[in-house]
Symmetry: C2
Subunit: 231 residues, 2 copies
């Protein structure tokens, strides 16, 4: 890349970072836990999120925004859960930016939410640089993508808080080598947390939901402690 475009890109990224920091403060003040789901195209973000929303909704107030270049397909699928959903259309853009999320949620009262899920554009490279103010960045791999993606696409795994391996129900059919995949994940990002699920069969979803609830409670507790300490 030319020094010129690097320079301009860095200014844009810096602006995004500042905006995302402000959003993170707003999310914290409202007590909403924000999850950014990233993966390549077709790894199963929408299916996992639809099931997650359905499972959480009886006990938690949830909403979702979803980014795609075109179509409202994913928003329609997510809305079947009963949660409020907004589609962000990015046109030719390969990732979501903080300002797109800010505009999409502008009409929502964040204090009325426990969880806000952001489903990013399907892309294993570009979303890595764009902070959306989230509390948790979840990177989804699908067994159908093969075992070596963590090594070949290092930028996104470097910024992820947890790696979820999806479509485990297809592992045998595609000859997926789970041990090799897990070794590659740990080689790319030593110590990163991992979960194995099948959004379709339901395998591992209990652990996934427990993880989300735990992270949500942790944030609430630390906010409560801070407010007690300040009182």
């Amino acid at each position: 890349m030319s020094p010129r475009i690097v320079q301009v890109r860095e200014r844009i990224l810096k602006h995004n970072d500042e905006l995302a920091r402000g959003m993170r403060r707003d999310f914290a003040a409202a007590g909403v836990f924000v999850v950014n789901l990233v993966s390549g195209p077709g790894a199963g973000k929408t299916e996992l999120l639809t099931r997650t929303l359905s499972a959480l909704l009886p006990d938690y107030r949830c909403a979702a925004v979803v980014g795609d270049l075109a179509t409202e397909n994913d928003a329609r699928r997510l809305a079947t859960s009963g949660a409020p959903v907004k589609q962000i259309l990015t046109g030719t853009m390969c990732h979501l930016e903080a300002d797109m999320v800010r505009q999409a949620i502008a009409g929502w009262d964040l204090a009325e939410l426990d969880f806000l899920f952001i489903e990013n554009v399907g892309n294993l490279v570009c979303p890595s640089s764009w902070d959306l103010g989230e509390d948790l960045r979840v990177l989804l791999f699908a067994v159908t993508e093969g075992e070596d993606k963590p090594l070949k696409y290092p930028t996104l795994i470097h910024t992820a808080d947890i790696v979820v391996v999806n479509k485990m129900d297809l592992a045998a059919a595609v000859g997926f080598d789970l041990e090799a995949a897990m070794n590659n994940i740990q080689a790319a990002r030593p110590g990163v947390e991992t979960l194995r699920v099948s959004a379709r069969s339901g395998m591992g979803l209990e652990q996934w939901l427990a993880y989300l609830k735990h992270r949500f409670a942790e944030k609430r507790d630390s906010a409560a402690q801070l407010s007690t300490a300040g009182a």
Copy 2:
């Protein structure tokens, strides 16, 4: 995107287009047919290309370059075919650019080649804007990605010459709706040619190879006619 970054990006793209045009002239002069393979991560570009190289090599002189952010895994896999292969490491870049290809092939005598294959970075968005001087842009979808990717990622399909649906051996296991997928492909890009293959099982590879050979012969014939007309 800010007007400033759009402006700088357009200048970079224009420079890439000029370089690609020059490369296309060089490829034509040398009589090499150049194929740019694009898809999301894990759709099976490397597997299809390895089998393609092995099948063509007895009768055609082939070489390949492959782009990844990190690792030489794909170059190693492709080299098992016996073809000369160069790995391009893009670092944090989400696509190949003409200049990366130019540098990678600098040591090769193009006149000694019939086919040059370029395997792009796995990304369904970004490679669309970057002309590599190729004769043929092949867009690969995998049945494991679902039926709606042609609609959700329109930019790449708009620039593709042919759409190849891969992993057909897994269609039943993932409940792939072929008719819906084909309708979506035609809706996104009316009239575009399509093929259905399984690089793993070998299904459809005969048609794929016949298509490549036909396109190669077409280019040779039209070059011969031009040179006769000019004589």
